[in-house]
Amino acid sequence: MSAWLNGIQSATSGAGLHDQQFNGLFLLFLGITGFFYLIVIVALIAAIILRRRRTGSEPLARAALFGWVGAVVVGLAVLSAASFLVDRRVDAATMGRPPLKIELVANQWWWDVRYHGASPSDEVHTANELHLPVGVPALVTLKSNDVIHSFWVPPLAGKQDLVPGRTNDILLLPRRTGLFRGQCAEFCGTQHARMALDVTVESLPDFRRWQRAQRAPAFAPRTALAQGGYAYVTQRECANCHNITGTPASGRFGPDLTHLASRRSIGAGTYPMTRGHLYAWVADPQGAKPGNNMPYIGFEAQDLHAVVAYLQSLK
């Protein structure tokens, strides 16, 4: 049961500040609304059972109506006040600390991720994946390049929309380490269902290590096969859309591939990151995610082997 409620995409996981508040508030709402539901059901059953005894009395019913309305008003007032207080407490708890700054730009159907640093060379550019140091507030700026999407990583926080023409933001405060998953929550077209975001919450040193690795340019290919893949990727269609820092590939249209093989999934959660799935994706991007914006390329067999070998080396 608890493993179930702690699922990697569960709103009850309580892995972030917002989410802990959510759990408490939800239980309060559940208790109070459950209490009122019980009253209704008991009254209904009583009315049905008592109908034969003819105990009904209008004045009594009239008095009870006033009591009932009073109770409902008090119940709602308590819930409104609790909801308001929790909302403001989340704001207060996350205010004033120098947060980590992340920019998330949604596209049909993937996430473009940038970590801003002191200088441009500090910047980290990746896709479909967030790494967060535990206990450090992160301010995520949310934008969209096309339609409305919604950022939702249930274990950490509630939703915030990414609206073209506007900039929203959300403050995350992860409370424990772990692997989590989020998913676009606003219908955004054909592959709305396959627009996941992997989130890794780790210790600050682990996070620093990850950041350093991500800042580095792509590894040079070592094997002959991977070199063939490098040549293909940087000279053919791939480079029109994808960026691989440290190589001539500098496209902007698709996700950054510089450290592709270090990520958890392919195609915004479509496949897990394995060799076999890299083959599947590259050979036929339209297979598991039909309608997405990466075209079918049509490889010769040896090119396919080479490209996958190169991509796998992009740790």
Partner: protein
Amino acid sequence: MSDVARDGEALQGAELEARLHRTWSRAPGLWGWLTTVDHKDIGRRYIYTAMTLLILGGALAAAMRLQLATPESGLISAARYNQIFTMHGTTMMFLFAVPVMEAVAIYIIPLMVGTRNIAFPRLNAFSYWTYLFGALLLWVAFALNVGPDAGWFMYVPLSGPEFTPGKRTDIWAQMITFTEVAAIAVAVELIVTILKFRAPGMTIARMPLYVWSILVTSIMVVLSLPAVALASGMLLADRLIGTQFYNPFEHGDALLWQHLFWFFAHPEVYIIFLPAMGFVSQIVETFTQRPVFAYAALVLATVAIGLLSFGVWVHHMFATGLPRLGYDFYTAASMAVAVPSAIQIFCWIATMWLGRPRFAVPLLYVVAFIVTFVIGGLTGVMVASVPLDLQLHDSYFVVAHLHYVLIGGGVFPLLGALTYWFPKLTGRLLSEGLGKAAFWCVFLGFNAAFFPMHITGMLGMPRRVYTYPTGMGWDALNMMSSLMTGVIVIGGILFVTNVVLALRRPPDAGPNPWNAPGLEWAADSPPAPYNFEHIPVVSSHTPLWEEGPLNVMTGLRVDDREQVVTTAIEAQPDIRYPSPEPTLWPLLSAVALAALFIGSIFTPWAVVIGAVPLAVGFTVWFWPKNAPDGEPVIE
């Protein structure tokens, strides 16, 4: 004047009936069918059409549940699934739920207020045809694989020219226009019927609760539907002639659509729900054999819900990034709606306690309604809270919530009301046994299918996804929801079977099989074309439960379609008014309008060219006849 035949001492019984028949019956055969302006013919057609669309929308739901039964299912493609859920939401909200509520009112309200026809009966015929053409447009497009696929809420810019080229969205937007025209027309007819055509003596404080709820609902339709008509018109303009109302990259605004859409679509939920509350009041009254407890409180609750429902639309937009303080206002307003609803629930339960309830099928649906709808209302209180909503919004929790409200609060009372008024619609009673079997399947199947979705949503499953990965803890819950949908389908089949079997028996129900108190039960089952031989005169809430025969007034012409117009508050007889004759022009005008609307999907010129036949149709239809204007009633 002396040569004019009027009902009264001299003209009674069989001879009166024969003359009224001659005046009020429609022409025989197909011609009569096409030209009729009888509210009962049109109401019945409206009901059958809307229920057919419920079945179609339900079939789409079953298809979705089939796809979602297992993770990574390949049964239905992404593109097709998106069409299916768009069609399901659109059909259910625009082509089933709102129309069916108006349809029942078209049939029942004139009978309930004791008059011979609805106000503006030709407009009523026109409205039906317009609605039918809108429904056909959408479903034919779907059959030809050009159905809309950007969601029933059609958020821009996804629904804009850039991201959904082709005609799918234009078809959706024009379908909206059709149904808006139809719905607003009916609302106007109902408002006028209720305010001006009530039987003498039915003061505003003696109106049955169902009449109150339809009055409030119709006013809400008139106030809210123009918002979505405007919104969809602007969307069409963006798509067709390159305006940029919604384009954020050209100084348009993506959230403008959401404000306009929800300004309509939230009240829409209450437009569905308030008539259902009216059904519940009538059923509770009849099946406990006593007037509903606290009439005045129920009327005020109805009016309060109507007013509050206009102040809550932003609770659909808590995640869009609007100012915080604004959110608090909408939270409070949303929670406030719970108060009048709590009053209503209390009054119905108190009525059962005070009366002598008999658990026939309609009352069973009322019990199911209370058990189910209250859950939907309480989850509504949850999603009104900003911190909770930010998690629950757009997840399967909301799918559960909205179906608890719409099915528990709308469809259950509707099925109860159709069972209750079936004798009045067809002259036959439905079988109690089959009715109960259908009831239990629908009620238990619904709860078993939809309750698990609350949990699926809390576990992070977003809505409007055509598939989901395995290993998220969602598999068993989804399988449960899908299997139990099958039980709902069985319930639906039993309900339809019950109707078909009943229609094959000869009519035998008699005017008032339930010993109900309302005027509609004073007419025959089904009513004669003129509804009542003499116009009833009312002196209480529950006229048929009073001692002695029903009072009537006499003196209406029988050789002309004459109706009594009464004053709005006191229902004093005011003037006599000739109700329009049958004619083909509403149908022809609706055809011209359909040509214009459908043509304008392809070229703006259709508006110019199409206006000509439409103008001809309207001109002939409204050509002044030199019939006398309403004559004062001579007491």
